[in-house]
């Protein structure tokens, strides 16, 4: 909240500069790409204005053209792309028609950019200090003899501890947050007038996100720079920007001051986006637009269930009271150790920067965790990357074996069955999963129908399906339940959208009528509007089929919407447990409070 106040103060502090007029003016910008399907217009007639010292947010879902717009401003489009129409004027320079030489002088020195994946944005085999030095030298901001000192000075500015040492570090030796600081240092090295931040915090944990955003805000303010923040997160944009531009399918649909966007969205698309953004004090059904825009996933008779829920009511009010229900899953003293080397890198990449003591030969991904999931209950497992939540869910899924601990499912000690044999165990069908990345979780060679049919073919004896026609009917029934239009059933994954793929994944997970479904960040790869629909779908299915969910997520707001109880994890241990309301509204643990505070708070 402080940041926001500072910002407004900062803007008001420089009225003179503001009066000088826009730093960047984009008029009727149209960008086209030559693809194998012909010309595709990615950006249509876009108008933007960035004044000096202003922070402009460009918000849109995937395919909205927001990133293309930013690349166009830098003139770093792929070879296939070209500016078809419109003008871009930066400080009086006609960017659209400037020579490549002019652009090179502009890039880095006048306009610079930070990117989504900080680790990938840095040359993996060049010392970070040298990478910053390259830019300084190129733009004549330093000479070979003093370049190192300059770089270290910049590293200090972006709050890198021990800059002398970090100068010689390679990107892989730094944490994600640290890498993003380096990228920021790189971008700000030559004191540019405009910073374009393209999804600068996507993929970072909320606490890191906050730290990075605060840093960017502070540094740009101090230098009187203008910023364009490109993000899919309306909340983030509203929190950190002066003005927000909403884009949809290459067009700007709305431009408004940040405070107004949430309070009074004008355009239907903006309204939809605002609604779909999870935020405190709303219910799951509030995420959806008033009139359902997606095909009805359920038979009419059952539709009323979620809608009958009142404001702020518990989502599972129709269910048997989970508090008194029998425990379906019981996890006791779960422990998972990995040798430090040989662990997949991504697994504890986040931890690397935190410098865990290297002499420890074993690394505890899960450290004595115990919890229960009752019949019909949804339990959220929340934590930042590397907290052990995914390891826990994978063990509960019985895809890997725990080092020690007991897992009881419906009275049976399934932890005792080796993961390898579990594939053929009758219990297998009762625990299913919805995966994080819908694209990755579908075999590119299987049609949607084949993917959904797969579990039925393997373990569907109970349904007594005979012949192709019956199988098709069953698949169609499942697809209908998951809200997947039947004409998409014969398509391959690459012919489906992200939301459609998620539906296929969900239809597959429910095909065997499981008792427990583990949702591993099921919406993390989806746009918010799609996320809203999918979350509602999951809730509806749970009600209909009487399943229990173990919901693994990093996003407390999302967890709250879907779950009865929340478990907060950190470094393999449970930090806090309680009902969703308790945890979110009256967190006991300091860590939980920190997490909640780090979530962007748009001015509502």
């Amino acid at each position: 909240m402080h940041g926001v106040i500072d910002m407004t103060q900062a803007t008001t502090l420089t009225p003179a500069e503001e009066a000088r007029g826009p730093l960047l003016e984009v008029h009727h910008l149209t960008v086209e790409f030559a693809t194998r399907k012909g010309i595709v217009t990615a950006v249509k007639q876009v108008d933007l204005t960035v004044r000096k010292g202003e922070t402009l947010g460009i918000v849109g879902e995937s395919g909205s053209g927001k990133s293309v717009t930013s690349y166009t401003l830098m003139r770093i489009l792929d070879r296939a792309g070209r500016i078809a129409e419109g003008t871009i004027t930066f400080s009086g320079i006609d960017v659209a028609n400037a020579t490549e030489r002019t652009m090179r002088d502009l890039r880095g020195r006048e306009i610079s950019m930070i990117f989504q994946n900080p680790r990938a944005a840095l040359n993996p085999i060049r010392k970070v200090g040298d990478q910053i030095g390259d830019v300084l030298l190129h733009h004549l901001q330093a000479e070979p003899r003093n370049v190192k000192a300059k770089v270290i000075e910049i590293l200090e500015q972006v709050r890198i501890a021990r800059p002398q040492e970090r100068y010689h570090a390679y990107p892989f030796e730094l944490s994600g947050g640290m890498c993003q600081r380096i990228v920021i240092a790189l971008a700000l090295a030559c004191q540019p007038q405009l910073l374009i931040a393209d999804e600068p915090t996507t993929g970072l944990d909320v606490t890191t996100q906050k730290a990075v955003m605060d840093l960017v805000t502070e540094l740009t303010r101090a230098r009187g720079m203008s910023t364009i923040l490109i993000t899919h997160d309306l909340g983030l944009a509203a929190t950190y920007c002066d003005t927000v531009v909403v884009m949809e399918k290459g067009k700007v649909v709305e431009t408004a001051p940040a405070e107004q966007i949430f309070r009074a969205p004008q355009h239907p698309y903006t309204q939809k986006l605002v609604r779909a953004t999870p935020r405190p004090g709303i219910a799951l059904s509030d995420l959806l637009p008033e009139a359902p825009a997606v095909p009805s996933p359920l038979p009419v008779g059952e539709r009323s269930a979620p809608q009958a829920m009142g404001e702020g009511a518990q989502t599972s009010s129709q269910m048997p009271d989970p508090v008194h229900a029998a425990p379906l899953l019981k996890v006791e003293n779960l422990l998972k150790e990995y040798p430090r080397q040989g662990v997949p890198m991504g697994f504890f990449a986040g931890l690397m920067g935190k410098k865990a003591p290297p002499e420890d030969a074993l690394f505890r991904a899960v450290d004595g965790l115990s919890f229960e999931v009752k019949k019909g209950e949804s339990v959220g497992l929340v934590g930042e990357s590397g907290c052990g939540k995914s390891t826990t869910s994978t063990i509960v899924m019985r895809l890997i074996d725990a080092t020690s601990g007991k897992i009881t499912f419906d009275g049976m000690d399934i932890g005792a069955i080796p993961a390898k044999e579990f594939a053929h165990h009758p219990m297998r069908r009762r625990i299913q999963m919805v995966f994080q990345d819908p694209t990755d979780s579908l075999n590119p060679r299987y049609t949607a129908a084949r993917a959904i049919a797969d579990p039925l073919l393997r373990m569907g004896e109970q349904f007594g399906i005979r012949g192709a026609a019956q199988m098709r009917a069953k698949v169609e029934e499942l697809a209908t339940m998951a809200g997947l239009p039947l004409d998409l059933l014969d398509r391959f994954p690459h012919q489906l959208s992200g939301g459609q793929k998620a539906r296929v994944g969900i239809a597959r997970a429910i095909a065997l009528k499981p008792d427990l479904v583990i949702l591993d960040e099921p919406t993390a790869a989806l746009d918010v509007s799609v996320q809203a629909v999918v979350l509602n779908l999951l809730e509806e299915l749970k009600q209909t089929l009487g399943m229990s969910y173990l919901f693994v997520s990093h996003d407390l707001h999302v967890v709250r919407l879907l779950c009865d109880r929340v478990i907060v994890m950190r470094q393999g241990k449970m930090v806090e447990e309680g009902t969703s309301e308790q945890v979110l509204e009256a967190p006991k643990a300091a860590y939980t409070r920190e997490l909640i505070a780090a979530i962007p708070h748009p001015p509502v």
Partner: protein, 337 residues
């Protein structure tokens, strides 16, 4: 670093054992009879049997194998039947010839193929790209012996630009004192430029022949890895920071793109050593490949075994060098070690 080398060598040992066993088995099933060869053209069956006993060829295979391994552990590779020389000496004298030729071929190929690959990647989809693809592919499509003969015909016989294909030096030069066994280097060490010139001239056409063959795999992998690096985010960052295309391509993209190229080099080298066998035959090159071919055709066990062993060791060393080179370029590989 020593640890890395040691672990590398340790992992190579099973392969080495495999190579020894496979070679032994392979040479024993070769048709032909060393004893009959030794006994000479007019030998009686008794004489042949005697010689067979003398050579230990009448013993059961496992015993022969143990004998072979025992001798091997003493550094005794046996003697060749057809040249009559100890295999170890012959390999030692012939290996540098092959290595010099193969390395020259490889270096020339790299010098041409890498710029080709980079150009093709930078100008992806344009005529430059297609031209690179066609040219390099054409090179690999020609059997080396055919290319070699053609080049000799044109550049030696027709045009007279190249010297006679008579091995490593013109007949009237004497080899420089051996330091490395590479004539180019040894002659420079000896300060003998005339010999250097002759050695280089002799080397030219066989090197070109080999290089033509090696262009395609190198150019192809360079192009592919360059394309993937050029589309990577850090290159975009570098471009966004206003660095010149030259700096972006050479400092940022190129060094990263070289990593897969280096990995492939091991394979290309092995590939070239195979091609070398034929090139040596065409150019009367006193290398190890032609030696092995002759030995193989005449069922001469010892040189074949010695050759394969030498190659296996060379291959292991090469991979070690590649690993180390990789480590020099890529800090990530270094930290893993």
């Amino acid at each position: 670093m020593l640890k890395l080398i040691a672990s590398r060598i340790a992992t190579a040992i099973p392969s080495l054992i495999g190579v020894v066993i496979v070679t032994f088995m392979l040479t024993r099933v070769l048709p032909g009879d060393a004893a009959a060869y030794f006994a000479g053209p007019a030998a009686t069956p008794q004489a042949i049997a005697e010689i067979r006993t003398k050579l230990g060829l009448d013993k059961p295979l496992p015993v022969q194998f143990v004998d072979y391994v025992t001798a091997l552990s003493k550094g005794d590779l046996g003697s060749s039947l057809s040249t009559g020389q100890p295999v170890a000496t012959e390999i030692a004298s012939r290996l540098p010839a092959s290595a010099e030729l193969t390395l020259s071929g490889l270096i020339l190929a790299l010098a041409i193929a890498i710029p080709f690959g980079i150009m093709a990647a930078v100008k992806q989809g344009t005529w430059v790209d297609h031209a690179c693809r066609v040219i390099t592919t054409a090179g690999v499509s020609l059997p080396v012996f055919f290319t070699g003969l053609l080049l000799v015909y044109v550049f030696y016989f027709k045009l007279g630009w190249a010297p006679a294909p008579l091995g490593r030096l013109d007949v009237f030069f004497t080899a420089p004192p051996t330091v490395t066994g590479f004539y180019l280097i040894d002659s420079l060490i000896a300060g003998d430029f005339e010999t250097f010139r002759s050695a280089a001239a002799q080397l030219a056409i066989p090197t070109v022949t080999l290089a033509i063959f090696a262009l395609a795999p190198i150019a192809r992998i360079t192009r592919a890895s360059m394309l993937s690096v050029l589309s990577s985010e850090f290159v975009r960052t570098a471009r966004a920071a206003g660095l010149t295309p030259y700096k972006v391509i050479m400092v940022y993209a190129f060094r990263n793109a070289m990593l897969p190229v280096i990995t492939t080099l091991g394979m290309v080298f092995s590939f070239l050593l195979g091609a070398n066998v034929l090139v040596e035959k065409v150019f009367a090159w006193p290398g190890i490949g032609s030696y092995a071919v002759e030995a193989l055709i005449s069922s001469d066990y010892a040189p074949v075994q010695g050759f394969v062993l030498a190659m296996a060791i060379l291959y292991i060393i090469l991979n070690l060098v590649i690993d180390l080179a990789y480590g020099v370029i890529d800090p990530r590989a270094r930290s893993e070690a």
